[in-house]
Symmetry: C2
Subunit: 349 residues, 2 copies
């Protein structure tokens, strides 16, 4: 706890005095603006180092009258997780107005790389400070991201990473680990039973879904060889489609003792259980805590839900983009999105 710092923090005035230059020059050096002799720059930097100066961002922004403009690009589609995410963006946007920060939200056709890169390309570079992208990674998307970066726009990938693009960072959970977690819970909850496990996925294009499946298979194969994991059912996050596909798959499987719903579109799954009357309900593990999955948990239809906090996701995205724009450091621990595990007992609220 002890601090050896002088109590009064040094200011630009102190730097100016020590370096024997004017405030304007200090500012120029501080912000890397041209038009200062090298010797002067050195003098100022020396003073900064000597005094242990740290810039007061609040004061700087006040003086600048700076307004941050961030845009979120989300897939279209009315699934519960997306609604949650958008609600959080709206809520934060409201609170951030007093902090000179504007949030905007764009929706593009889901699982459609062209639509996504078109949307990114349509962004007016001049009045945007950062872009948060939730969508599939393809060459055209990579190019669009590269264009943003070339123009100094902060870019983060949201929920699903774009690892080979130039995005500044990824805001979301480690989806492979999330899949592993689901598998561990599935295996443990099944407690030695044998049988088949059905996996519901969204799209093979979606990196998050793919990674979850990877992690799930890995742990199932390693730790629970008595359980047979069936091929994925591609539900495209579409409740109707899922509800249609499910009965067929369940029948074909033979002895399905577990269902892992690794994507969105839980509504279809829930409705299936409402209409069917199964002798022995399989263990169900799903993703994302939403009003729908909460109810399913409470009623015992879902046994566990793996989730990521939507509020944290958007707050984190904004913090990271702002830090990136201001060339300020971030706190990695604070920005790490946790893989939340919910049983009916630990649901928040």
């Amino acid at each position: 706890m002890k601090t050896g710092t002088t109590l009064a923090n040094p200011t630009v005035n102190d730097i100016a005095r020590v370096a024997e230059v004017s405030l304007a020059t200090v500012d120029r050096v501080l912000n890397g603006r041209p038009g200062v002799r090298k010797v002067t720059v050195d003098k100022v930097n020396q003073a900064i180092a000597d005094l242990g100066y740290v810039r007061d961002t609040a004061a700087a922004n006040l003086a600048r009258g700076r307004v941050y403009e961030f845009v979120f690009i989300l897939p279209e589609g009315r699934n519960e997780f997306l609604s949650l995410l958008e609600a959080q963006i709206d809520a934060l946007a409201d609170g951030l107005k007093r902090e000179r920060t504007q949030l905007r939200c764009i929706r593009v056709a889901a699982f459609d790389p062209v639509a996504l890169s078109d949307a990114i390309d349509a962004i007016e570079l001049s009045d945007v400070d950062g872009v948060a992208v939730f969508g599939p990674e393809t060459p055209s998307v990579r190019d669009s991201v590269a264009r943003l970066k070339r123009h100094g726009v902060a870019v983060v990938s949201l929920v699903a990473d774009l690892p080979s693009s130039e995005r500044d960072s990824y805001i979301g959970v480690d989806n492979v680990a999330a899949g592993r977690t689901a598998a561990q819970l599935m295996g443990r909850f099944l407690g030695g039973r044998r049988g088949q496990v059905l996996v519901l996925t969204g799209s093979m294009l979606a990196r998050d879904h793919l990674e979850r499946r990877l992690g799930f298979d890995e742990v199932m194969a390693r730790d629970f060889p008595a359980l047979e994991v069936l091929a994925s059912l591609e539900g495209r996050d579409d409740p109707e489609l899922i509800q249609r596909l499910l009965p067929r798959a369940m029948a074909a499987g033979g002895d399905v003792v577990g269902i892992y719903s690794s994507a969105a579109g839980n509504a279809g799954l829930v409705r299936y259980f409402e209409t069917q009357c199964l002798a022995k309900k399989p263990v169900v593990i799903a993703h994302e805590l939403t009003p729908l999955s909460r109810e399913a948990l409470a009623k015992g239809v879902f046994d566990a839900v793996i989730s990521q906090d939507a509020g944290h996701l958007v707050r984190s995205a904004v913090r990271v983009m702002r830090a990136q724009r201001d060339a300020l450091p971030i706190n990695p621990a604070q920005e790490r999105i946790r893989i939340d595990v919910y049983l009916k007992e630990n649901m928040p609220e």
Copy 2:
């Protein structure tokens, strides 16, 4: 996303102009200072409402030259969770220096109400804005908290609540729910096995431990009648003591298939498993993710860990105390501390 607001936010100057008063008067009204006629107050408030004014906190703090002073009171004792908490306080303190916020940390004898209230009473009221208290609730502690509140100091309870005191809010998990979660996991992981479950607790004085036990018993009795929950082993968060008590309890139990370690002092538990060589390892559920419990999880000594994020805890405490001091609203969703469930698959890092 659409906003109907005028782009240029109204400032105190606008209010002054519209209300036809001076800046000083506006400021007085804004800050509820006395010495303004009722009619004038009304005029100003009218203008504020009409313009939809929201105060720029950054500018206000800049002008005030305000420095927040917050103190954390933690129990003494070198257990891993406390170290984690203190490390987070130190880390945040460092980052907060540039935001005019000072954090201090006091340690008082654990499980000792008198020491705690003495420590609270010793706080210099004049130079403290808020106090975060982690300790047992007793009449003397309640009185000490009341004294703080009388002097306008913000008070939050940390980790364990002081519900009948006048603390402004509680920063920590719902410990009853945490206990319930532990029980659900225990029962599910045991998958129908019968036998006994040992509960390790810290102190009967510690509200958090008590509440966890309550929740644990509730769910075990309701959902897993085949499992017999034994009386608590009071380990006082002391690894040595725990290591001594454990073998006896295990032997006495007969057929212990599960251990719920509801408090700190996991080191003793881990050491016990290192020395003993059990035929069939019981399912172990512990609290708080620390370097020690991470390793135990990774090695399969612990099966699950219920936790609360130490970083979140202290950031939240600071945000809440600051908001309280500034009479500003908080975002309850952001301040809600989650009950984290960790398996070896979803450990962060």
